[in-house]
């Protein structure tokens, strides 16, 4: 055995020398790199200082790197390609400001404000031939980063490119082309360099004008005109040097690793000015950096308390680092490698609790703009029976599940509009309100009496022995026309792997409906399978119940999309329950035509009142968006915002300040 000793030593030496070499190589690398890094900061800092000296009103020179983590590689850097066909949230995060719009909304209050328009045009002119036009003045003095002025021609060019080249996907929601069958935009023309005239073939309401076409993107005609010859070459064009209307331009793009934006020192979007947000919902904008046209305007109700944040940017560059594993991203965050994690869904609850104990980490909790729901198929029995839907909605004890099993981690929700939208939210009425006050026995008894009143019969109606236990369900239950409900009806719900919350909910809901004497089972199903079942026109009569969620847009027009009978899924729309109520359709049409928010809110509340009675959906709950940021290295202008910081302002690179 002693023979082996020699060979071991040799091996050790070999291993050690390899190791030493690696260390030497890395050590070399590190020192050389430090030098490079220092030089780099100097070069970026120097021109900025000169700029600040020249423009005395510039408060501070942007510097430092704002680091954010993303979870998936952006698909493209080209804005045309980004909106075409398949656009994911990661692509949108990293996309530079290649597009402008007439109006926009201010964050965090989502007040409609002007962007490139110099006036908030909300009234159209009726051309008398069934078309309606908006003439919007474009502010003078704005330039793309390549020096070309931003003019009305850019809007005309963008619309024509979209329709002429047949761009698809989200371009069609931004710039829907009006045809004889489709409502949409007939033309966009520049009546002069600074007036754009947008003509619709119908009279659009808030959703289609203020929150639609007026916020649709327009790109630089001067730069893109020669490239936009056909769809493929336009989408394939390299956009790393495309002009932007913002302070940041693309810098280093390392596919699969990281992406950076650099502050463009010649940009007219230099720091200077303030945004004031009022509690009453209004916004005041006072921008003057000496380069861009000065703005001093107020929008909405500017009364009461307010807070002000300054207009940036205050950072020299923005870095998006790719972590394909979410946990790894939060681990890196915990270590301080990144300042913020761009995660549209927010951080997981326990990671959140745990990060609470890490020094230098600030926690943010925001209401989401979305809902999770349980849908009936109102086309087939028993979902077609209103008493059945009401009884089901009544017996589902949301509050019990949320408080005890889910430990209050989600907010209970009754209507289709999230609580955070304040004035829009309708008070809960009808069956939902009545059942809310009852205990589990009361809920069961109420549900049974709803069924009895609705003409249902049973050989034995069962009984509820008291709290804590299940009811003894009715037997031989039959519908008003004597038809027996089908056996083994399935609730398609996401499995525990996709969403543990909805999975838990579905198990409980199935049990509640069984207590009413129906044979219902929760079936954990893959997300794409549920979508396939619920949204396929050909399968619109093949299911009884399913559970999914919606994330919603800022302008709450979901009542039209989800329940207007013309949107029935059998015909390719989003009304999956097949809900059909002429009175509701009338209201929905009025809602679409509404020109002011106040008017829209009144109609929306009336629509919800009908829904609380008819219940095509049982709206269930809404999990909060939890986020974290490094308060020891960055300072955010605000943290309270609907949907969270990632969705509202992409981590606010334009207004964030680097503190260390």
């Amino acid at each position: 055995m002693s023979n082996f000793k020699g060979s071991k030593t040799w091996r050790l030496i070999l291993l050690f020398s390899v190791f030493a070499l690696v260390v030497v190589a890395c050590g070399d690398g590190d020192t050389a790199d430090d030098e490079v890094a220092e030089e780099a900061t100097e070069t970026t800092a120097a021109p900025a200082t000169t700029a600040a000296a020249a423009e005395e009103e510039a408060p501070s020179a942007p510097g430092g790197v704002y680091k954010m983590a993303i979870f998936s590689d952006p698909q493209t850097q080209n804005y045309w390609n980004y909106l075409d066909t398949e656009n994911d949230v990661w692509t949108s995060y990293v996309m530079s400001g290649q597009a402008v719009s007439l109006f926009t909304v201010s964050v965090p209050n989502y007040q409609l404000i002007t962007s490139m328009a110099s006036e908030l045009v909300e009234v159209n002119t009726d051309n008398g031939d069934g078309t309606f036009s908006y003439s919007v003045p474009v502010a003078k003095g704005y330039e793309w980063s390549d020096g070309a002025p931003i003019t009305a021609n850019d809007w005309e060019f963008t619309f024509n490119t979209v329709s002429d080249l047949g761009l698809a996907g989200s371009w069609l929601s931004s710039w829907p082309t009006g045809t004889e069958e489709n409502q949409g935009i007939v033309s966009v023309e520049a009546t002069d360099d600074y007036t754009v005239k947008i003509t619709f073939n119908y009279d659009p309401g808030l959703a289609k004008w203020q929150y639609g076409a007026a916020q649709a993107p327009a790109l630089s005609k001067a730069y893109w005109e020669s490239i936009a010859t056909d769809r493929e070459s336009l989408l394939a064009a390299d956009a790393s040097s495309a002009p932007v209307a913002g302070a940041f331009v693309y810098d280093k793009l390392e596919q699969g690793a990281f992406y950076t934006w650099a502050y463009d020192t010649s940009s007219m979007w230099a720091p200077g000015g303030d945004v004031t947000i009022y509690d009453s919902g209004g916004t005041k904008i006072e921008w003057d950096n000496g380069k861009a046209p000065a703005v001093n305007e107020t929008f909405g109700d500017v009364s009461g308390d307010s807070f002000t944040y300054s207009n940036g940017p205050f950072v020299g560059s923005v870095e998006f680092t790719l972590y394909s594993d979410q946990d790894a991203a939060y681990l890196a965050f915990q270590k301080g490698d990144v300042d913020f994690v761009l995660n549209p869904l927010g951080v997981k609850r326990n990671t959140f609790n745990q990060l609470a104990t890490v020094p230098g980490v600030e926690l943010v909790q925001n209401a989401p703009n979305g809902m999770r729901y349980f849908a009936f198929n109102t086309r087939i029995f028993p979902g077609s029976n209103k008493a059945f839907r009401q009884a089901t909605a009544c017996i589902i004890d949301k509050d019990f599940i949320i408080d005890s099993v889910l430990q209050g981690t989600v907010a209970s929700m009754d209507g289709i509009i999230p609580a955070a939208l304040g004035a829009w939210v309708a008070p809960t009425t009808g069956i939902m309100a009545e059942c809310k006050e009852l205990d589990s026995v009361g809920k069961w008894e109420k549900s049974i009496s709803i069924l009895q009143d609705g003409g249902w019969t049973a050989t034995d109606w069962g009984e509820h022995p008291g709290n804590e236990t299940r009811a003894i369900p009715p037997t031989g239950i039959k519908g008003p026309n004597g038809e027996a409900p089908p056996e083994n009806m399935l609730i398609y719900a996401p499995g525990p792997g996709y969403d543990p919350l909805r999975n838990t909910f579905s198990l409980f809901i199935a049990d509640y409906i069984r207590q009413l004497g129906f044979d219902v089972t929760a079936r954990p199903t893959g997300f794409s399978v549920i979508v396939d079942i619920a949204f396929d026109p050909e399968k619109c009569k093949d299911w009884h119940f399913y559970m999914l969620g919606w994330s919603l847009s800022i302008y709450p027009d979901q009542g039209v999309d989800f329940f207007h009978s013309r949107n029935d899924t059998c015909e390719g729309g989003y009304n999956t329950p097949g809900y059909n109520n002429p009175a509701y359709d009338d209201l929905a049409n009025q809602f679409e035509g509404a020109k002011t928010v106040a008017e829209a809110i009144v109609i929306s509340n009336q629509m919800e009142e009908i829904l609380f009675e008819d219940l095509p959906y049982v709206v269930l709950f809404n999990p909060p968006v939890l986020e974290v940021f490094r308060s020891d290295s960055i300072e955010l202008p605000f943290t309270e915002v609907l949907d969270g910081l990632a969705d509202a302002c992409t981590g606010c690179p334009g207004t964030v300040k680097k503190t260390s």
Partner: protein, 390 residues
């Protein structure tokens, strides 16, 4: 023999054809399609979805799509990625492949070598207590629940100890001013690794016949040193000098994934070596060698180990085929966007052109490996040769 090879080639083409059709049908069987998200956006006009399907030819009947895909495939046209349009699958593979190759070439070399060394020692120390415990430990490191283990490694070395970076293949701040793309550096590193390995193998081959064990070891060690010195000069001259810092950064990021996969992978080789070597040790000529009074070490290294190498090397060739397959989890956990992630993404997003291209890429490799193995078995083993011809 030639007839056999000819027939085998012809079968190979049929198998590949079947493979293409099968894969396409499998992808098509996944519910929904790559553009299903458009269905979930109520702001879109109802015909937007159909319009996109028509644009990408997904509205055609399945048989027509399969047919045109296969025809185009043999013409060398793989279509466009649905997700990364207008990139082609080939562009995507060209971007991802070097990263995977570099990482897993390293892993395989290291785990194969350590596995072989440990297996050799295990077989020789057969029956001892230490052998049992090392074997049991290796078995558990072989069967450890891999994703869990990788996450724990990441947590321990990346966060708790803070020795190594948490995933990724570079530190962005080091690359801000880099004139090179990471792919350029990866390709250089792969070339370097391949050349160094070839030199190392050549040294091994040329010293094989040196009789004296100590002389042989010394010559090999000097060769190894020369290789190191050569590498040192390589990285400190000319073009490579400029790229050194970047290559160093990538190498530093490779340590944790390589370590993690090696801990899991070495045991496979070790256990195989142990078994085959134990078989060889029972062979007659080893007994003869013992009877001749040759030293233990000599028998182990010269007689037993060399013969045990053959099946181990064969299995090694086969594992190369499964590299890309097995890289799915590693690449996701260590944020190393290579082929594994490309496959996973394309399958989950139903990006059929990319998924088909990556599947075919692996398929071609597997097919060639089997083909070569088959031919050489047939050549080496007369029994099989006769059978196959008959």
């Amino acid at each position: 023999m030639y007839r056999y090879i000819f027939r085998r080639t012809y079968q190979l083409i049929i198998v590949f054809f079947l493979f293409l059709v099968t894969s396409y049908l499998l992808f098509d069987a996944i519910p929904g399609n790559a553009f299903q998200n458009l269905l979930l956006n109520p702001d879109l006009p109802p015909d937007a979805y159909e319009q996109v399907l028509a644009l990408y030819g997904l509205d055609k009947p399945l048989s027509e799509r399969v047919f045109s895909y296969v025809v185009n495939f043999f013409k060398g046209d793989f279509g466009y990625s649905y997700k990364y349009y207008p990139k082609t699958p080939i562009e995507l593979i060209a971007e991802r492949l070097p990263r995977t190759l570099m990482l897993f070439a390293m892993v395989n070399i290291i785990s194969f070598y350590t596995g072989f060394l440990i297996g050799k020692i295990l077989a020789w120390r057969r029956g001892s207590k230490s052998e049992t415990w090392i074997t049991i430990t290796s078995v558990f490191s072989y069967t450890v629940f891999y994703p869990w283990f990788a996450l724990m490694m990441l947590w321990y070395f990346g966060y708790k100890m803070d020795w190594l970076p948490i995933g990724k293949f570079l530190y962005p701040e080091k690359w801000y001013d880099s004139p090179y793309d990471s792919d350029v550096i990866f390709v250089l590193m792969i070339k370097f690794t391949v050349i160094v390995s070839i030199i190392q193998v050549l040294i091994y081959v040329f010293t094989k016949n040196i009789e004296s064990l100590s002389l042989k070891r010394n010559v090999r060690f000097i060769g190894f040193l020369l290789n190191i010195v050569g590498s040192y000069f390589f990285w400190n001259t000319g073009d490579a000098l400029l790229k050194k810092t970047y290559a160093g950064d990538i190498a530093y990021h490779m340590i944790l994934p390589v370590l993690t996969v090696t801990v899991v992978a070495f045991a496979g080789t070790a256990l195989l070596t142990r078994t085959t070597m134990m078989e060889v040790l029972k062979d007659d000529y080893i007994l003869t060698a013992r009877a001749k009074g040759l030293s233990q070490r000599r028998i182990r290294d010269r007689h037993a180990a060399r013969n045990a190498l053959l099946p181990v090397v064969t299995s090694f060739i086969f594992t190369i085929v499964t590299i890309i397959d097995g890289s799915v989890l590693t690449e996701t956990i260590f944020s190393w966007p290579g082929m594994g992630q490309l496959i996973l993404d394309s399958v989950l997003n139903e990006d059929i052109p990319v998924a088909m291209a990556t599947f075919s890429f692996i398929g071609v490799f597997a097919l060639i490996a089997h083909f070569v193995a088959d031919i050489s078995y047939a050549y080496l083993d007369p029994r099989i040769r006769i059978q196959s011809q008959g």
